[in-house]
Symmetry: C2
Subunit: 213 residues, 2 copies
DNA sequence: CGACAATACGAGCAAACGCTCGTGTTGTCG
DNA sequence: CGACAACACGAGCGTTTGCTCGTATTGTCG
């Protein structure tokens, strides 16, 4: 139950080799967790399996994460940061209101697809309609971050619409992405590209109706 | 909860009270299972909880179903039958090629929405993008039945399209339904109706593109 | 009735899980 | 060096889960 050791070290300002090794281990564990979540899903993933995949013992794992949910939360945190950065990069310096809807959808969707492909565990944790309590609490921030981002985009493009309508539209758009992402983030590139294009069209059509009304 | 007892009687000519009681118990168990699945989800549902909800002991439960998956399979079987009947009724005697797309979508979607509302466990078992092995095997027949039905509909309306394209379109359509159903099968009727209408529009737009091409 | 099978029970088993704890190892610093 | 804290280990604890088994009850039929 020893907490606060990290804070203590942070205050000292020194970065000894110990700490570097510790952070390396954390990254190791998160990577292993991602692989296990990807292959067997959230409930199928055991902490012992994650430890084994990371090449360490269960005891060592619990020196860095207090419990399974903390691992999930940390992993999701990296997703929030990573995806946020990808989207900022994709929209940086653009005039949101001037972009064609087709272009805008592409700039949001394509990084998301790429991120899904590069982080296979992403959809195992995120793209579910039914979640255990612990998981839905952990993914809450990720959902909220995406929702806020989409709402902000829509607000910039259709300022005359009510916030409630925009939020509603954003929810539908995100659900559409979640529904088709499992078929897009797949190894068969022919199938994948086909579904991606369909989703793209679907989003453009749906959002043009939202902006138009 | 009076099930096929009468039909059984007609076939055998005799009245095996034992057997009638057994079938009643089965229905009791399935109903209890549906309630438990609805409230705590598939993995949260314990066989003991199902037995308790049905008002029987675990031992008794296992006299009718060999294991948890068999319960799920039986429950899904009732869904396949029930939904099939609802859809046959909704499309009975209609000229599929002559119906407007809007009308057709309504006739398929509305019974589905009603069925979801009346069988709350339905989406807990069906509308998931990520499933345990056992559950996805159990829901396989239900997915396949729905897919075949949609493919048949589309084939009747767009015979010039390739079977592969139609199957592909059917998959997308079903995914759209699964994505928005959790927000439709909800108690707040205002919200529910709003999402239902959006899904309806989405499907009409998408399928008109499929038929048009 | 008496024999038998179907039904019902519920304590509890074996396995799996998240997690702990006692012990040993390694890097840091006075 | 010696003391100490972080790191590492892995057997195994406590709990939960799906499921069993020995036993008691009930309906059926010769």
């Amino acid at each position: 139950m020893a907490t606060g050791r990290v804070a203590e070290q942070a205050v000292t300002g020194r970065v000894p080799r110990r700490r570097a090794r510790g952070e390396c281990r954390m990254a190791q564990i998160l990577e292993a967790a991602a692989e296990v979540f990807h292959t067997v899903g959230y409930e199928g993933a055991t902490t012992n399996a994650i430890a084994a995949r990371a090449g360490i013992s269960p005891g060592s794992l619990y020196q860095f994460f207090g419990n399974k949910d903390e691992i999930v939360r940390a992993l999701i945190e990296t997703y929030v940061v990573g995806l946020g950065a990808a989207h900022v990069a994709a929209l940086d310096g653009e005039d949101l209101a001037a972009l064609s809807l087709d272009d805008l959808v592409g700039r949001v969707l394509d990084p998301l697809v790429r991120y899904n492909r590069e982080h296979r565990a992403f959809k195992a944790l995120f793209a579910r309609t039914d979640m255990p309590r612990a998981l839905s609490e952990a993914t809450g921030p990720l959902h909220e971050a995406m929702l806020q981002r989409v709402v902000a985009l829509l607000t910039a493009r259709a300022p005359q619409s009510s916030p409630a309508d925009l939020r509603h539209a954003a929810i539908v758009a995100i659900q559409l992405v979640k529904a088709l992402m499992p078929m897009i983030a797949v190894d068969d590139m022919t199938e994948s590209e086909r579904y991606r294009r369909e989703l793209h069209l679907l989003l453009v059509d749906y959002l043009s109706r939202v902006e138009g009304s």
